[in-house]
């Protein structure tokens, strides 16, 4: 079996596991067993490495926000605030741990098991960040460009908030793993200093998570954001899957799924091909249209067969499958019209078979193997017997894997349809789509070359008809994919996350309208209806309008409230402190110390002092 492509969830799980192990190892310490010096310093170095990686994540998230106009930031959501506040907290944690700038990036050799696990978590998260960054590119002008269909989902608020929650949760885990070391008895100035640094950093890590927890309470994030986040694959072409047993259903499903993923990957590249590229060719368009027509038919067959299989024990699912079959049938007809249109035109470049066209052919092949009883089925075989329903899904538990294959295949067809539409639109604009003319002596200047041939650039009704057909095929394929997504969600097929990612991407594409709606918001009471805290109020009273400073002030106000809340929960509320209207924040000494160590502004510290005892 071919290993599935790594996902962000793999790295996330690995990091969580490493930190859980680090915490377990740490908790097995007794304070006296901590090796003085070694453990403390190694924890500090390993934690510094981890915090550096965590703050790189939040740095990525704040980069987008920093580019927004301040008017937008003032009227933005609790989650956007949390991003900025968490980043500030993580940056402060990093500063607290650093001895010198040069040391921040090097952990050196580690012999303490807990520190080793902290370091391993940092490495997992580094790889995970690389995975996410692999879905983006930077243009020469510095603009962030999407390199895959996942990129749009990654940038969505749901995935962003899911990522922030994960990052700060990992920070909290790391703080727990360092608790014993921070509380151990050490001797010597250097060790005590390292221990203090770890303690302060842990405080910041807890504050970072508290900020996110507050945002989560005010505006609960959709759980699908975290699901999509975990499912984001590495942005590379998956290896093809060749079944060892060509008659085993699970192997055939795997072949369909892998081929569909490959097709989607190359379809993205095809859709983004430059209009002058020699990779744009009518030969590829034709093969894609023909192959997707076959695939749509095979999906239609599979949906019907599966509907027969589940009709008795799940009539609702059978109805959904029947609807999906209808959509696949309609898509097949649209592909037929599309293929016919591509037969009536040509392009300046021909005979080029693109990777997208090759994968489309493979997809037709494997979906047919799954749909038909003939083990030697190929598209060249005559119409033959269908696979019996009991063979396609012997048990009810086998249904999701077939649904998964159908959904993946239909989504791949939708991506290929978009690729054809994009390429055809570009080729039309570049006068690269040609129609057969009456005279072979005509001369045309195409792409800077004078060509004598019996064709002329397509225009008027040919172009209108061609592009309309491409759009129709794209929409029909999209509807089939949506129907596939519904049955995937209903059956719990793994590909259901694709539908969720698609939905997030769609919402994200509507974001500019939402931005426009909030762009006019003016400075004033926060949009969540809460009053300004004392620090923020003070800054505003002093005439400070810098958005970043106001963010930080708000962050400190809320962090103070959270600490007080935590303290009163843990120790019992003997006297509920009043926060908000006062100009001084009651604050545990540890937190104030942490703020001071992090280099907080003196003007801010003047308003944050330890609360007097009861």
């Amino acid at each position: 079996m071919t290993a599935p492509p790594a996902t962000f969830g793999d790295f996330l799980s690995a990091a969580h596991d490493e930190l859980a192990t680090a915490a377990a190892v740490s908790s097995s310490f007794t304070l006296s067993k901590v090796t003085p010096g070694r453990d403390v310093d190694e924890h500090r170095r390993a934690l510094a490495h981890l915090v550096q990686v965590l703050s790189a994540y939040t740095g990525d998230l704040t980069e987008v926000l920093r580019k927004l106009p301040s008017e937008y930031l003032t009227g933005t959501t609790a989650w956007h605030q949390a991003v900025m506040q968490a980043h500030d907290a993580l940056t402060s944690a990093g500063s607290a741990l650093a001895v010198s700038d040069g040391e921040r990036t090097e952990t050196g050799s580690l012999s303490s098991p807990a520190a080793q696990h902290l370091s391993a978590a940092a490495m997992s998260l580094t790889a995970g960040r690389d995975l996410l960054q692999g879905h983006f590119a930077t243009s020469a002008s510095g603009a962030r460009l999407c390199r895959s269909r996942w990129a749009v989902a990654i940038a969505s608020p749901e995935v962003t908030s899911g990522l922030l929650a994960e990052i700060t949760s990992l920070g909290r885990q790391a703080a727990e793993a360092c608790e014993t070391v921070a509380a151990s008895v050490t001797t010597g100035n250097a060790r005590a200093r390292a221990q203090h640094q770890v303690g302060v950093a842990c405080e910041w890590l807890r504050l970072a998570q508290a900020r996110v927890r507050t945002a989560s309470q005010r505006a609960p994030a959709a759980s699908r954001g975290r699901e999509v986040l975990a499912a984001i694959p590495v942005n590379v072409l998956p290896s093809p899957h060749v079944p060892q047993d060509a008659e085993a259903i699970d192997e055939l499903c795997q072949a369909v799924t892998t081929t569909a993923q490959r097709a989607r990957h190359v379809a993205w590249d095809a859709a983004n091909t430059d209009h002058r590229s020699a990779a744009i060719s009518v030969t590829s368009w034709r093969q894609i249209a023909a192959a997707c027509m076959v695939t749509s038919h095979n999906c239609y067959v599979l949906c019907q067969t599966l509907a027969d299989r589940v009709a008795e024990h799940d009539p609702g699912l059978a109805e959904d499958l029947a609807r999906a079959a209808d959509q696949a049938s309609l898509a097949r007809e649209e592909w037929l019209d599309n293929a016919r249109e591509f037969g009536e035109v040509t392009t300046d470049v021909r005979d080029h078979i693109s990777p997208a066209a090759l994968e489309a052919g493979e997809l037709a092949h494997w979906t047919g193997k799954l749909a038909y009883a003939d083990p030697d089925w190929t598209p060249a075989r005559p119409p033959s017997g269908l696979r019996p329903p009991a063979s396609l899904a012997p048990e009810a538990t086998d249904v999701p894997r077939v649904v998964d294959a159908i959904h993946e295949a239909s989504r791949a067809c939708a991506s290929l349809a978009v690729a054809n539409l994009e390429q055809a639109s570009k080729a039309v604009q570049a006068d690269r789509v040609l129609i057969h003319a009456g005279s072979r002596t005509a001369r045309y200047n195409i792409g800077g070359r004078t060509i004598r041939m019996p064709v002329q650039p397509a225009s008027g009704p040919y172009v209108t008809s061609l592009l309309a057909c491409c759009r129709d095929a794209s929409e029909a394929a999209g509807r089939t994919a949506e129907a596939g997504g519904e049955i995937a969600a209903r059956t719990g097929a793994p590909s259901a996350v694709l539908a969720a990612a698609k939905a997030l991407a769609r919402q994200q594409s509507e974001l500019p309208h939402r931005k426009q709606a909030t762009a006019g918001a003016t400075a004033g009471p926060r949009i969540d209806g809460q009053p300004f805290g004392p620090i923020e109020t003070k800054l505003r009273d002093c005439g400070v309008t810098d958005t970043r400073l106001l963010w930080r002030a708000s962050s400190l106000d809320q962090a103070g409230q959270q600490v007080i809340h935590d303290a009163s929960t843990e120790h019992g509320s003997q006297r509920q402190p009043h926060v908000g209207a006062a100009s001084r924040i009651p604050h545990p000494a540890g937190a104030v110390s942490a703020l001071r160590s992090a280099g907080a502004d003196r003007r801010i510290l003047a308003h944050v002092e330890p609360e007097a005892g009861p």
Partner: protein
């Protein structure tokens, strides 16, 4: 069907590069018309024919770019200009297309060998290759 049979006769009887190219162009066009006509008629779905249609269109394009192709009275695409003949069953259609594409490939390779210009030779060989693809798909479906 009648059109495909007539075209086969033209292909078999054509002599000389220009006439073979002319017959080949029409042969590929007729295959497309017959295949789409079959599917429009609501016959059982036949994947091989759909794939063959793509190859037939590629073959027609290859012929169209041959310098020696005669300028016919109306070489523009005959979109819906010719009424579709009665659709045959898939086996009959597969058999006639397999036969036509086989003849086409042979004739195109013959004239390619005698072609005077590289462009003509390349056009003939490319078109012959596509005719063989059509034949492979149509013939396999009959086994």
């Amino acid at each position: 069907m009648t059109s495909v049979t007539d075209t086969q006769r033209r292909v078999d009887n054509a002599s000389g590069l220009a006439k073979v190219l002319d017959a080949a162009y029409d042969a590929f066009e007729d295959m497309l018309t017959a295949i789409y006509g079959y599917h429009d008629s609501g016959g059982p779905f036949y994947p091989a024919l759909i794939m063959a249609a793509a190859s037939a269109a590629n073959g027609r394009d290859a012929v169209a770019f041959a310098p020696s192709l005669l300028p016919p009275p109306s070489r523009t695409l005959q979109t819906a200009a010719v009424p579709a003949p009665d659709p045959p069953g898939w086996q009959d259609l597969g058999a006639s297309i397999a036969s036509l594409s086989s003849s086409l490939s042979t004739r195109l390779r013959d004239v390619a060998a005698a072609a005077e210009t590289a462009e003509d030779r390349r056009a003939c060989l490319d078109a012959a290759r596509y005719a063989e693809e059509v034949h492979g798909l149509a013939a396999a479906s009959l086994q």
